[in-house]
Amino acid sequence: MDFERIREKLNILADAAKYDVSCASSGSDRANKNNGLGNASRMGICHSYTEDGRCISLLKILLTNHCIYDCAYCVTRRSNDVKRAAFKIQEVVDLTINFYRRNYIEGLFLSSGIFKNADYTMERLVSVAKKLREEENFNGYIHLKSIPGASDELMYEAGLYADRLSVNIEVPTISGLKLLAPDKKHEDFTKPMQKVKNEIIRYRSERKIIKNTPKYAPAGQSTQMIVGASGETDKDIMYSATYYYKVYLMRRVYYSGYVPVADDARLPAIGSQVPMLRENRLYQTDWLLRFYGFAVNEILNKEHPNLDMDVDPKLSWALRNLHLFPVDINYVEKALLARVPGIGMKSVNKILHARKFRKLNWEHLKKIGIAINRAKYFMVCDSRDWERRDLDADKIKGMILQSSMGKFRKQYSTQLALFN
């Protein structure tokens, strides 16, 4: 192995791949076959964390950063003057196996710039996965990027070897896509998604009849959207996320605050803040939709096209719906209990178990771990002590903000700073 050469390539191609947010290794339960190497852990394992706090669980690299497209938001766009490199198929296989054996990673996340055309690139990606599975008897996690515009046959083959497939739609609105990536069509993104979705459904129904049907993309599909690059509202983003969850049965939609990488009039200038708080609020909304039983139009609608920056989306929903509160924690049904601000799903389950034994009071709830400073305005429990004042939404919000300290507070505080 030519160590120095590999080292240089790895530096270039890992650097270019880091803007992909997804590093999930969960959702697949591929078992170890014939005493081979590796298996997939259903809950996923993060083997390390980057200094910006994101999980490192996969070896996330590009096969090459040569690209025929010129998308404004992308660091490997054709017109950008960066060092280019490309891995050989065997080099990627060796790196993956050796990192995996040392317990550095859960598997491989392989993406690529598009060279020649979509099919040529996709074929290369598939052959890496095929080699890992068939020659090395590797059963770890493989995440392949579906190249926009790749043919159905290749997408079918990809699903046979990979655990997860993803296409990044990047720009949530079609108008934004026209502006920022004029060479790409919206259909190029959705076609591979559609194919993979259909195959997953087909394999699932076959599995019901024949138990040893091979696995097809057991961890499903995911996608990613850039936030804050094309002036879209939170409503645009979440509505299109809901669309992808529903229509293409996405396992995850990722939101990535735009990191300025180019001097382009169409985009925020280099050096402008990454919208991390907004990204955080979008993820909170995503969780509310997936786990807490909220519908997207309850949180975002015509009157409220953007999320509140100073309070989380659940609290802001509760403040708009004060007529539903307060609820009695000892009697209320699960669906509404999950909607009380300051109570997460873990606490919901603990409360449901515990209240079979006795009525709960503040002491119990505190020990279970709910955020009482937020919850106390929206609930009563087995105690004579509860919020009796008839407070309006603004007042409650003010009191909650006063009694808490968020890490993003600096960014939206309206209070004047004494020293600047």
């Binding site: 192995m1 160590f3 590999i6 080292r7 790895l10 530096n11 890992a14 650097d15 880091k18 803007y19 078992a31 170890n32 005493n35 081979g36 190497l37 590796g38 298996n39 852990s41 394992i45 993060c46 083997h47 390390s48 964390y49 980057t50 200094e51 910006d52 706090g53 994101r54 999980c55 490192i56 070896l59 996330k60 790196l95 050796n98 990192f99 054996r101 040392r102 317990n103 550095y104 008897n137 605050g257 990191v259 300025p260 990454v274 991390m276 603990k350 409360i351 178990h353 515990a354 209240r355 079979k356 034994f357 006795r358 709960l360 119990h364 020990k367 279970i368």
Partner: protein, 258 residues
Amino acid sequence: MKPSTTLIYDGSFNGFLTAVFVAFDEKINVADIQKNNEVQNGLFSETETIFTHLDKAKRVWNGIRNKSHNAISNVYFAFLSESEGVELMLYTYIQKLMASKNGKSLDYSDGIVLHISQLARKVGREKHRMEAFVRFQLTKDDVYFANIEPDFDVLPLISKHFRNRYADQQWLIYDVKRNYGIYYNLDHVEMVSLNLKDIYHNKIQKSKVMASEEYDYQTLWNDYFRSTHIKSRINPKLHRQHVPKRYWKYLSEKKQVV
């Protein structure tokens, strides 16, 4: 009233379960359950030494498991936390569990139940961390070797994970703090204890016992680790939260910092 008794067992999990069996069987009024190497006599209690008995332990294990699968894993995990006085707390927990009609539901408003489930959670977290933070180094005799120093005694919990995953390589994970390790010889996992002269954490100088390409891969991994940072989003506090500092010396990607 019967006099209260302190039960003394050999420190193993089976020993503890036997003690629970004896306490139930002889209706002992238990003052405390202690390991035989850290006995502290009570002023008003007698002591009784328990000899580990596998059948008795098995009966307790099955008894708890039949009540609730959740409870048996809570008991085992909390026991491995090695926290002070956990035995008596577990005994009370088991008493409560056995007295309840329906073991499925857990009364989280009860202090002991909540505490045990929180302890079990801590141990579970450490187990998960060890599955993530073990860094194997390839030695010259083809064994993938790793040192660890976990807060709790999690080796028995992680052995299955590593056996299932690395079925085609020999590996050895050694707990430096508790002085024993688990070794997989391509067939089964066994407990070993070594006379380690050197702890192989990520030192800059290279050790002769490691294979020659080992340090190349460590360098590559280091490079990879550094190139994943996005400078404009750096957040050291969050980073330390996910990868607490006490693990750094065994993580090869943290070589520069340590």
